[in-house]
């Protein structure tokens, strides 16, 4: 694997990247860095600018402003050089449907100039990884989407690039195959491959080392999933299971330690400053009022809550989302 950057140095640097299409700003002053072996997820609604950002980093779109370094190479200045060090899976289907599994792999092997014993080894690895052993001569058009996706990944990493860009790689793939796909991504990351992946699946974002929340072309927040959750809520979340949620909700809404109380299915969610101090106090408060509960415990909020909260905080009220 070619090393353009030392392990301590970031593999991807985005510095105030801007992309305008006419009057429309698709990407607005986005800056971040991604290190060696890190999995960075871009999370955001459709049209937020995730794909535009990835295409700029691959050298497919020219930045309107700012600078991007990938594997130590300036993408704006030398996109051709960057392309030797990246693998890219586009949102659109990126294999040749009318070619067989092995023909697709050989094609990308030729394009990336992987030869001889190395090519044979890489193709064997890709087929094994995609679970396509014995189906080498099958036309890609007849494969199911999970297989296609893993084969596309195999083609994108045939030349062992240090940086991998995946644009919504798992859209339209069944949950089982998605899980399997993420196992492959983890394995690559352990080998030191830097992975930048876009998704709009919240559960998938949880698998990333860090998440960049993107909305309307802007970077709304950046951090690990747990960091983002803590920061967004400015506190901890408690779950209350009880016989009579209505009565408890009425009482807890006026409790001194509770910042916010809301029904959640047949139970309640409470937002407090610090679970460790506030949980015993709430239990005491309920006991004083002879209210019964079966369970109170701290829980992790979902990324979906976080995303909604952070987007609401950055978009002024009255502006269309």
């Amino acid at each position: 694997m070619s090393e353009q950057a030392s392990p301590s140095e970031p593999r991807i640097i985005a510095d105030h990247l801007v992309k305008r299409f006419g009057a429309f700003t698709a990407v607005d002053q986005v800056s971040f860095t991604v290190g060696r072996g890190e999995i960075m997820g871009f999370l955001g609604p459709n049209g937020a600018g995730k794909s535009t950002l990835i295409r700029m980093l691959c050298g497919l779109l020219r930045p309107s402003g700012g600078r991007a370094l990938v594997a130590g190479i300036d993408v704006g200045r030398d996109p051709e050089h960057v392309r030797e060090h990246i693998g890219y899976m586009s949102q659109k289907f990126s294999l040749y449907n009318d070619l067989s599994v092995i023909e697709n792999l050989r094609f990308f092997g030729g394009i990336y100039r992987v030869t001889g014993a190395r090519l044979a080894a890489r193709i064997a690895f890709a087929i094994e990884m995609a679970g396509l052993t014995g189906r080498e001569d099958t036309l890609v058009s007849t494969l199911s989407s999970g297989w296609k996706q893993r084969l596309a990944l195999g083609c994108a990493i045939l030349h062992q690039p240090p940086v991998l860009f995946l644009d919504e790689p798992t859209s339209g793939v069944d949950p089982n195959s998605r899980r399997r796909f993420w196992d492959l991504i983890y394995a690559l990351s352990e080998e030191g491959v830097t992975v930048l992946v876009t998704t709009h699946y919240m559960d998938e974002a949880e698998y990333c080392n860090r998440i960049a929340l993107i909305n309307q072309g802007r970077l709304v927040a950046l951090g690990s999933p747990s960091e983002l959750k803590r920061r967004a809520l400015h506190g901890d979340l408690l779950l209350v299971d009880c016989e009579d949620p209505g009565a408890l909700l009425l009482a807890l809404e006026r409790a001194p330690h509770v910042r916010d109380a809301a029904p959640f299915g047949s139970s309640l969610h409470l937002l407090v400053d610090h679970a460790g101090d506030d949980l015993p106090a709430i239990e005491a408060y309920l006991a004083e009022r002879h209210l019964h509960w079966t369970r109170i415990e701290p829980i992790m909020p979902s990324l979906e809550d976080v995303f909604v909260q952070l987007v609401e905080a950055t978009v002024p009220k009255g502006q269309p989302p």
Binding site: L60, R62, R83, S90, K92, R106, T115
Partner: protein, 377 residues
Amino acid sequence: MRAQRVKAIARKELLQVVRDPRSLMIALLMPLFQMVLLGYGVSLDIKHIPVCTFDREASQHSEALLKRFQASTYFRIVEAAQNYQAVTEALDYGRCKMAIVVPPEFSERLNDSGKSYVQLILDATDDNTANIGLGYAQSVVSGFSNDIAVLYANRQSIVQQNQPVTLQSRVWFNEDLDSRNFIIPGVVAMVLALVGAQLTSLTIAREWERGTMEVLISTPVTALEVMIGKIMPYFMIGLFDAAFCLALAVFWFQVPFRGTLFTLFFTTSLFLVVVLGVGYLISVAVRSQIGASQVALLVTLLPTSLLSGYTFPIDQMPAPVQVITYLVPSRYYVTIVKAIFLKGAGIIELALPITLLSLYALVIGTLAARAFRKRLD
């Protein structure tokens, strides 16, 4: 440029063509259909003009005259009318293009005064056929009257007088004066131009439509590698088509071939590079398969059929149109291939059209390589 990448693209492209019924049909069936249709359909010779006769005398002389018409390959007597109404009807319904009416006093006048006449009625809706028919009819009649004059002269023991001036003609290059020999080499050019541009017009557009282009341009492959890799398999197919069409011309249509295979191979390769390049350039610019295919058809079919000199001689066109023909690459190849077939011309005699065609290939190649951008914006 890396040979390995060019090879990878060429291989992939060949596999795709072989598996795409539409491309395969364009590559293999279109040349056959066009050769047969154009080879048989287009003929500038006028032969077997349907003729209606109305012999009002039915004498030895009148029958002798009509037999001459019957014997000529230019005419075919389809009807013998018994009255004027039948003659009019035959012409009206298009059963014949010409009618010959021999008057009742034909022989009488000939014997009395040595001068007589026959009537010729022509359907001139197609003025060209009418004109040519008139010419042929005149020569049949004048041949007949010559013979009669000789006969009378002999009878009266007058020494036969020779015509003072006779034309001694020798026809070169197309000795049989068969327009097929002139047209078929042009048909080959036409077929190659159409098929060549059609084939490559799909290649880049197909990648854009199927979404594979985005990944292809994210790899280190260069525009030149893509162009050469993509044109190469079609060049092979084009050479195969050319060999097939040229073999049909020689062995099926019996067009005399007097040049060398090397000259033909060299110039045909050059022409193929041009038409494939044109198709590729269109594909890069249009990005949709249907659109590119339509543009390719428009750019090759009309200019090649009208302005290449394949049927209509360029030196008979108005000067401004003649200037435009220099922009039509088929013009050079039509000139070249006709000269190779009929005159046996070599590279040296063809230096000018070959140079111009090479220049054309260079310009198209440069444009096509530059037009392909490895960017989405």
